[in-house]
């Protein structure tokens, strides 16, 4: 029953979030700030993780498919498709749920317990819209960009690790990366990253906005929001995959 109450409350909050803003220009400026705070600050960690992820996937494909009949360039094909279809969208989504999600839940939760949200309400500001909408727009906007960056750096990681470990030449790897490329996979993953972006921003915002108590509860809420966002990301990954590949 409690779960259904959360779902109901979540949708009611979203109605408030998507209400008409008081001043569009202020919301726009706030959105730019959030793009910088939440999105641009994530580029570094996305780059590092993607390079290692691409390198590891490249090595794993080779070690698990040792066969003289297996053309080496297929390592590049495998790395590319794995990155595009799952790693750079889903794994990145899970990672962002931890980084961005906990940031959003903690920020909004702290504002709640220090009465800053009440203060906005007293001024006549739609606190849910002002605090959450710019974050949602920013994260949804930045998610596909981070996905594309992640694929790019993942492929670079493979390019470093594969030839570096002597399992494939640079030419073979680059041939593989370009071989049998299906543009639909990119479109599919961009759609996924948009959905994940919405989950990563709105679910922690819901938890932060409704926090009650003190600093301890804000910490708990942050953890709770990351766990729930991660579960929802995997759940929607399953549904979107089934919808697009049936």
């Amino acid at each position: 029953m409690n779960y259904f109450k959360h779902i109901g409350d979540y949708f009611l909050l979203m109605l408030k979030v998507f209400a008409r803003p008081e001043r569009h220009i202020i919301y726009f400026r706030q959105t730019l700030k959030e793009i910088e705070n939440l999105g641009l600050s994530s580029i570094g960690i996305v780059t590092i993780i993607s390079i290692f992820m691409g390198g590891i996937v490249t090595l794993q494909i080779h070690y698990n498919l040792v066969n003289p009949l297996f053309p080496r360039y297929l390592i590049g094909v495998g790395n590319r498709d794995i990155l595009i279809l799952e790693f750079s969208s889903t794994i990145l989504g899970l990672m962002m749920a931890g980084k961005i999600g906990s940031n959003i839940a903690t920020e909004i939760g702290s504002m709640r317990i220090s009465e800053q949200i009440e203060s906005l309400e007293i001024m006549g500001v739609n606190s849910a819209g002002y605090l959450i909408l710019p974050k949602v727009i920013a994260v949804v906007f930045i998610s596909p960009i981070l996905f594309i960056l992640s694929v790019f750096f993942g492929l670079i990681g493979g390019l470093i690790a594969g030839p570096g470990a002597g399992i494939i030449t640079v030419i073979q790897y680059l041939d593989g990366v370009q071989y049998l490329f299906v543009p639909f996979y990119v479109k599919f993953s961009i759609i996924k990253s948009l959905v994940f972006g919405f989950i990563i921003s709105s679910v922690p915002a819901y938890f932060g906005y409704n926090v009650k108590g003190g600093a301890l509860e804000v910490g708990k809420t942050s953890t709770q929001s990351v766990v729930n966002s991660s579960i929802l990301i995997l759940f929607f990954d399953l549904i979107i995959t089934q919808l697009f590949f049936k």
Binding site: E22, R23, M111, Q116, M123, G124
Partner: protein, 251 residues
């Protein structure tokens, strides 16, 4: 003027406010006093609409707040200013941006006009040179003063202060009281202050409502409060030995 009539509020069946009525006059500092947990904050939050009351009426110059729709409430709230217990300043904005926030949100003033208005409010709270400081860089008393400046920046008709002196030393506490009194009288605002600070009661209690256990127990002025025979109020006001001795000496 704000008038509350027969306000009742309960949480999960537990009554917190029981049939409270009172009129808060404009141009006066109206104090709500009572022990911790007596329902002061719940009453104040109910009056401003942060909590929904179970029954009763709240009238802002004869406009019934309880019967207003979302848009009407939003409009009325632009006539309100509130100082929260901890100041509730926005951490990510500096002092100037905090005070300017309502102006940015609801007015079409030019940047120069906004700057002048912010400076005017900061001067009123004796914080003229603090524009660029962040809330984390100023003291508790300064936070309260900035919160007062933010609360008056829109020229409110109604000012609400929730324990503005809590956690402050007596000198700063006096300064805050004086500020509230001066602003109330200068701008003719209807001010309601929640407090359990006895100094505030004596200094600025032009109208006092004493509540205990969620019930209205007594109403009067700071002149009457010292001479009342109301047992609960006397227990509250003269709770310390020092204050009892002072009362006996005065008598």
């Amino acid at each position: 003027m704000i008038e509350i009539k027969n306000i009742c509020k309960s949480f999960e069946g537990r009554p917190v406010l029981k049939d409270i009525s009172m009129a808060f006059d404009a141009g006066k500092t109206n104090l709500i006093i009572g022990k911790s947990g007596s329902g002061k904050t719940v009453l104040l939050k109910s009056i401003v609409g942060l909590l929904k009351i179970d029954s009763g009426e709240i009238l802002y110059h004869d406009r019934n707040f309880c019967q207003m729709n979302f848009k009407e409430r939003k409009k009325l709230r632009q006539e309100m200013g509130m100082v929260f217990q901890g100041g509730a300043l926005f951490d990510s904005l500096n002092v100037e941006e905090n005070i300017r926030f309502p102006l940015d949100m609801f007015t079409y003033m030019t940047p120069n006009e906004k700057r002048k208005r912010v400076d005017f409010c900061l001067e009123h709270v004796n914080m003229s040179k603090a524009n660029k400081l962040f809330p984390s860089e100023i003291s508790g008393g300064m936070k309260k003063r900035v919160a007062i400046a933010r609360a008056i920046v829109m020229n409110p008709k109604y000012l609400f202060c929730d324990e503005p002196n809590s956690g402050l030393d007596p000198v700063t506490s006096n300064t805050i009281d004086e500020l509230i009194l001066n602003i109330t009288q200068e701008f003719g605002i209807t001010t309601i202050v929640n407090t359990h600070d006895m100094n505030s009661v004596i200094e600025i209690g032009q109208s006092i409502l004493f509540i205990s256990g969620g019930e209205k127990c007594w109403e009067g002025t700071n002149k009457e409060v010292l001479n009342t025979n109301h047992e609960k109020l006397n227990d509250f006001i003269f709770a310390s030995n020092l204050s009892k001795q002072m009362r006996d000496t005065l008598k």
